[in-house]
């Protein structure tokens, strides 16, 4: 982990808060985030990129922040774009959960706060599990990309698994977020659609469920049943 990550996250929040186009992101030099220091870059690792993308997914999901960061890599492959999208998706899902919790803690119905209803609590717990899973997948994928020097082919297993896991979480997260919000969450003016529409879009970008499921499945089939476990433990941990 880069020592400067906390500062980087503060900067990212400042730059993205209220930004309505990509210019401030470009001006702040995010294209240099993944460029090595001896090449004049920031020298960040994929964990840093993941942290920035997480914030971008929360605060500015419509801005092409991932494109700016990846531009520093030069030769960018589809798996790199998928990996960056996982970071955005984790952030957007965290924001959907956060908005949902705020809403049920303030909105009253039937004389009680919505959050006091067991059915609502159970739904949000399910959603929180999905968000936790995507966070964990994004972090583990980032660790692998760092261990391989951003080599998307060497990290192909983790990228496939993380993008597929994130894709599969989208349905649950968006459905529950909108369900607990009721009609207000379906309005243009309310913040929820700012993250749920991008989530629906990202699920199909840089590899949909079928693409990554088959890619990963073929890779695993080639390893054989026992080989899956041996392969998994040899890659990390």
């Amino acid at each position: 982990m880069s020592a400067a990550r906390d500062m980087l996250c503060d900067t990212t929040r400042t730059v993205l808060a209220g930004a309505d186009d990509i210019a401030p992101v470009e001006e702040a030099g995010f294209a240099l985030l993944l460029v090595a220091e001896d090449e004049g870059g920031f020298g960040g690792d994929w964990g840093d990129a993941n942290a920035v993308l997480h914030i971008a997914g929360m605060l500015a999901p419509d801005l092409p922040v991932a494109d700016v960061i990846l531009s520093g890599l030069g030769d960018v492959s589809m798996p790199h774009r998928a990996a960056a999208t996982v970071g955005l998706m984790a952030g957007a899902m965290g924001q959907a959960l956060s908005l949902s919790i705020d809403h049920v803690n303030t909105r009253q119905q039937f004389g009680r706060r919505l959050g006091k209803f067991q059915a609502v609590q159970q739904s949000l717990a399910v959603m929180a599990c999905e968000v936790a899973a995507v966070d964990a997948a994004a972090a583990a994928m980032a660790a692998r990309l760092d261990a391989t020097g951003f080599d998307a082919e060497a990290a192909g297993f983790e990228i496939a698994a993380a993008k597929l896991r994130a894709n599969r979480a989208v349905g649950v997260v968006t459905a529950i977020a909108h369900q607990v919000h009721g009609a207000i969450g379906f309005t243009e003016e309310y913040d929820l659609c700012r993250v749920t529409i991008p989530l629906m879009r990202w699920r199909g970008e840089h590899g949909n469920d079928a693409h990554w499921a088959r890619t990963l499945g073929r890779q695993v089939a080639a390893l054989g049943g026992r080989g899956l476990w041996e392969g998994l433990t040899a890659r990390a941990g």
Partner: protein, 379 residues
């Protein structure tokens, strides 16, 4: 718990060598190749295997050497546990004693209790069961009514436990009992170590819907145990038990106990599966890989001395859902007749029948989601 902060899983020592040595040991000592026996293996009771595993140093790994333990780091134990589960080793006999009872006795027990129980646990020879549930107190554990009254001779126990896994094969039960007359809910509860051969203890089998005998009813009829049977502090039983449940909910058994089915599916599919089967293998792998990250992170947090109650519940919730879904999803895609006798079919049948239990043991799904909701600030 707005964001699941991933704790780095960083065991000391040479983990690669640890895995290699254990795999070689298992290749020489694994008692069965039968796929059904390998599935749900943490319920498979095999004292010979447990004793051999203990002699090889893979049981009681985290206990201090003065009690016969291995003085190893909890994350080294984690590595060993996931290897045993992935290989489908029959670890059921010593499982609860090694996972919960041993660490709990070390943390809260008296010196006498440590010397009496820990060496046998570390050898893989002394087995324990967990006395929590009662007919009126399952998911609502604070409704425990089994009473223990302190007399001049010791504790006198009356009441009943139920759903006690392995009581008929265990030596000792760690029971949650009400030690303060008239106390309510989670106050006035304590933990007692009761040897199961004590007069007045009766164990009756409950056969499950798969025809297996794991569960039991345990009756206490004026059972007298010494004063020294009290574990930890009188009245602190609730706190001790909830800490114990963190160990029970987040381990690799929550997603690896049915790993044999994924292995069998991959082997049956061959090196070049059709797209639908490849897709299912990919989906199951992505979920299993993610669960492993969550479980390892929670283990690392536990090892750092923190109490990851919510994270442990997330692992149990997602792990249970994964293991319950897996047989159904495999059945939906492979050609399978209920009465087929090939490996994949026998395994699928066994896991379809076993799967309803996965989200019951260690806290029902609704209770677990309630704990997560509390972590979200909703309760």
């Amino acid at each position: 718990m707005q964001s699941f902060a991933l704790y780095p899983f960083d065991p000391p020592g040479d983990t690669v060598a640890l895995r290699t040595d254990l795999r070689a040991w298992l290749a020489a000592n694994q008692p069965t190749d039968d796929v059904v026996a390998r599935a749900n293996c943490w319920a498979s009771f095999d004292p010979d295997f447990s004793r051999a595993l203990g002699a090889a140093g893979y049981v009681g790994m985290t206990l201090p050497a003065i009690y016969g333990g291995g003085d190893r780091h909890p994350l080294e134990r984690y590595v060993v546990i996931e290897e045993l589960l992935a290989a489908g080793a029959p670890v059921g006999a010593h499982w609860i004693a090694d996972r919960q009872t041993g660490p709990l006795i070390l943390r809260y027990g008296s010196e006498e209790q440590r010397q009496r129980y820990l060496p046998g646990i570390a050898k893989g020879e002394l087995y324990a069961c967990i006395g929590l549930s009662e007919p009126g107190a399952g998911s609502d554990l604070a409704a425990v009514r089994t009473s223990a009254r302190e007399t001049s001779e010791g504790w006198r126990i009356n009441g009943q436990k139920i759903w006690t896994t392995g009581a008929h094969l265990s030596h000792v039960i760690l029971a949650l009992v009400r030690t303060e007359e008239g106390s309510e809910r989670n106050a006035g509860l304590s933990q007692l170590l009761i040897d199961l051969d004590t007069p007045g203890v009766t164990i009756r089998p409950i056969i499950d819907m798969a025809g297996n005998h794991d569960f039991n009813e345990v009756f206490f009829d004026d059972v007298l145990v010494p004063h020294g049977a009290l574990v930890g502090e009188r009245g602190q039983g609730w706190k001790q038990v909830t800490a114990e449940l963190g160990l029970e909910r987040s381990g690799p058994e929550r997603y690896l106990s049915s790993h044999a089915l994924l292995v069998a599916l991959i082997d049956a599919a061959g090196a070049d599966p059709d797209p639908a089967v490849a897709g299912l293998i990919g989906e199951l792998t992505a979920e299993m890989w993610t669960l492993r990250q969550l479980s390892m992170s929670t283990a690392a947090k536990l090892a750092a001395g923190e109490d990851p109650m919510v994270e442990a519940s997330v692992v149990k919730e997602l792990g249970n859902a994964f293991e319950q879904d897996m047989p159904r999803r495999v059945q939906a895609i492979v050609n399978f007749d209920w009465d087929d006798e090939d490996d994949l079919a026998r395994l699928l049948r066994a896991l379809l029948i076993a799967s309803p239990s996965f989200s019951l043991r260690g806290g029902t799904r609704e209770v677990i989601r309630g704990i997560i909701a509390r972590g979200l600030g909703l309760r």
